[in-house]
């Protein structure tokens, strides 16, 4: 998961440092507000804990063992903001003192493992576990949160590596940094994470969180509301019209005609199955409405809102139906 030095172009490294600077600033302000004088020892010990969790092997079926990132354990224990700081400090130490990870890629690594994993894991866990969950539900919520958070972080790593050949190449078209395109980087990164590392992370996180709740609930930070999650969701919905500005079809979302344009023919199976399911809102528009650009943008936003609403509804129903 750690991207070493030399894999990302200077532009990408600078972009992620620029992206993380406000995140680090906001996190430290939030933590300062919450923790006051105690902040330095608590953060330092939290970061040491994150470091140690990353180092230890967890026993897995088959007599083997595996490592976990532990970001969800850290963020559930300390809160997501302190989690960002603690994991960033652990990653900085790994890069500077133990030469694990990179110095130029520290911004990107912090984005993937400290920010994405910490926040997604924390809020997915909060949404799934509800207010006072029973032991099985808590175990399931923490396992799923860790699984999704790790795979989300892995997807970000894959995209960061996969875009390098397109954005940084020599005059002769030769890739200068990570050489695999998205079509190779995504499956190469995602398959092991979906099939092996994800389940290990899920197992480890569920075991640790369940144990802590069983023995000493006071160790876990009281959960924040889901307000920040709503803010992120609304922000993403507002951003969706940006997709309309893009001139090309998103990668992997080609229709039959797009496939024909790209590879010259349509695979037989795709021809048979393509178009069987039209979707509730085909093409993200209501078919009875005109196809004007403004109207499309409006319905694109509306479709995103409906999609997000459905997810929220599923999560809500999940909370109501799952036995406490």
């Amino acid at each position: 998961m750690h991207i070493p030095d030399g894999y990302l172009s200077p532009r990408t490294c600078a972009f992620f440092y620029a992206l993380m600077l406000p995140a680090w600033y906001v996190s430290s302000r939030k933590v300062e507000k919450e923790l006051k004088l105690k902040e330095i020892p608590l953060l330092a010990l939290g970061a040491s804990f994150a470091f140690v969790v990353m180092m230890l092997n967890i026993p897995i079926p088959g007599g083997s063992s595996g490592h976990m990132v532990g970001a969800v354990v850290v963020s559930v224990a300390l809160g997501p903001w302190a989690g960002v700081i603690a994991l960033t400090i652990a990653l900085t130490l790994q890069a500077f003192i133990f030469a694990d990870g990179g110095i130029t890629t520290l911004g990107a690594n912090s984005f993937n493992m400290a920010l994405v994993m910490s926040f997604s894991g924390y809020y997915i866990y909060g949404a799934l576990a509800g207010r006072s969950p029973g032991r099985p539900r808590r175990g399931f919520a923490s396992a799923l949160a860790a699984y999704i958070a790790l795979n989300l972080a892995a997807l970000f790593v894959a995209v960061e590596l996969g875009i390098q050949p397109a954005i940084a190449h020599g005059a002769d078209g030769r890739p200068l940094y990570a050489p695999y395109p998205l079509s190779i980087a995504i499956p190469a990164m995602m398959l092991p994470h979906l099939l092996f590392f994800g389940p290990v992370e899920a197992l480890g996180t569920a075991l640790i969180i369940s144990y802590i709740y069983k023995t000493d609930e006071g160790l876990i930070k009281r959960r924040e509301g889901l307000k920040p999650l709503w803010a992120v969701l609304i922000f993403l919905i507002v951003l969706t019209p940006l997709g309309l500005i893009a001139a090309v079809t998103p990668w992997g979302e080609w229709g039959s005609s797009g496939i024909k344009e790209l590879i010259g023919y349509v695979p037989a199976g795709m021809e048979v199955l393509g178009g069987v399911w039209k979707g509730l809102l085909p093409g993200y528009t209501f078919t009875f409405y005109g196809a004007g650009r403004g109207a499309s943008a409006l319905f694109y936003v509306l479709s995103a809102a409906i999609g997000s609403g459905m997810i929220v509804l599923i999560v809500y129903l999940w909370g109501r139906l799952w036995p406490k």
Binding site: I40, L43, A44, L56, L93, F98, T104, Y177, Y180
Partner: protein, 291 residues
């Protein structure tokens, strides 16, 4: 005195040796964890050895050392051609020799990174990933000139950057390193970083002690479920230890008058040789941009 009656199962003679007969078996998670912790502690001692030698990098003030090595790392990232990368390689080689860091020690430290990247880049050599002019091949699969060029360039860049970072780590005492970092990063961050570094050892010692305690009481492999429960309980113990230590440290700091402000001894003035080193390193960086 009453006669001691042994249970029947204890008097049974068995042909098979008992489980704890010293048979070699694949290392379990306990052994791997102990090995990992031991290698971590060993690495720290190993690092300190080179820092006390009298060499080029060791003679430069820590702040200038970090700034100079950073320039060379950036030169590697920015290099887009073989000439620039070869130039940085020669400079790195000269620095390693003048800093009395043996090449074998450096290679040994960089080898894992080199091997990892080489394995990862293996498919890039071949025509199915990088089409181009074939050099050698069999059964329709060829190593292409373009593929080999891309892979060699990438592997060289990554290994060179790892060597530079390793040179900095080998020639710098941890205390000097944090003192140097304080000039570039906020005091709050560096203090937390330094404290983290110190407490990693404390927490790892807790982990090592508990793992060793379990291993010394183990004569047969436990069930997976039991091992996992034990693992979870140890992580919870480490978390508990972290939070209680944080509480104690913050109380100790408050009782000694800590008011949230961090004062540190100001940096030593940079001498001529420090400035010369920084100037030369950044000169290499700017040269690499145009090559």
């Amino acid at each position: 005195m009453a006669e001691v009656k042994l249970p029947a199962w204890l008097k049974e003679a068995r042909d098979a040796p008992c489980l704890a007969d010293g048979k070699d078996s694949a290392p379990g998670f306990l052994e791997k964890n102990l090995e990992g912790i031991a290698s971590f502690f060993g690495k720290m001692v190993y690092f300190e050895g080179y820092a006390s030698k009298k060499g080029l990098l060791q003679a430069v003030e820590p702040r200038a050392r970090i700034l100079g090595v950073l320039a060379l790392v950036l030169a590697c990232v920015a290099a887009s051609g073989v000439v620039a990368l070869s130039g940085v390689f020669l400079v790195t080689l000269a620095i390693a020799l003048l800093s009395k860091v043996g090449l074998s020690a450096l290679i040994k430290r960089v080898l894992p990174s080199f091997l990892f990247t080489s394995v990862l880049l293996l498919p890039v050599f071949f025509s199915f990933v990088t089409p181009g002019e074939p050099i050698a091949g069999f059964m329709g699969i060829y190593v292409t000139r373009q593929g080999a060029g891309t892979a060699f360039f990438f592997i060289s860049r990554v290994s060179l950057m790892a060597s530079l970072v390793m040179l900095l780590l080998l020639t710098t005492r941890q205390t000097d390193f944090f003192r140097g970092l304080r000039q570039f990063l906020p005091a709050f961050f560096v203090t937390t970083l330094f404290m983290t570094f110190r407490y990693i050892f404390v927490l790892l010692k807790v982990a090592e002690d508990s793992t060793l305690a379990r291993k010394s009481r183990t004569f047969a492999k436990g069930s997976l479920r039991e091992s996992q429960d034990w693992f979870a309980s140890r992580i919870a113990l480490i978390l508990k230890k972290s939070l209680s230590t944080a509480e104690e440290v913050s109380m100790a700091m408050a009782s000694r008058g800590f008011n949230g402000k961090l004062d540190a001894i100001g940096p030593a003035r940079m001498g001529k040789k420090d400035l010369l080193w920084v100037g030369l390193a950044w000169f290499v960086f700017f040269l690499s941009l145009g090559l």
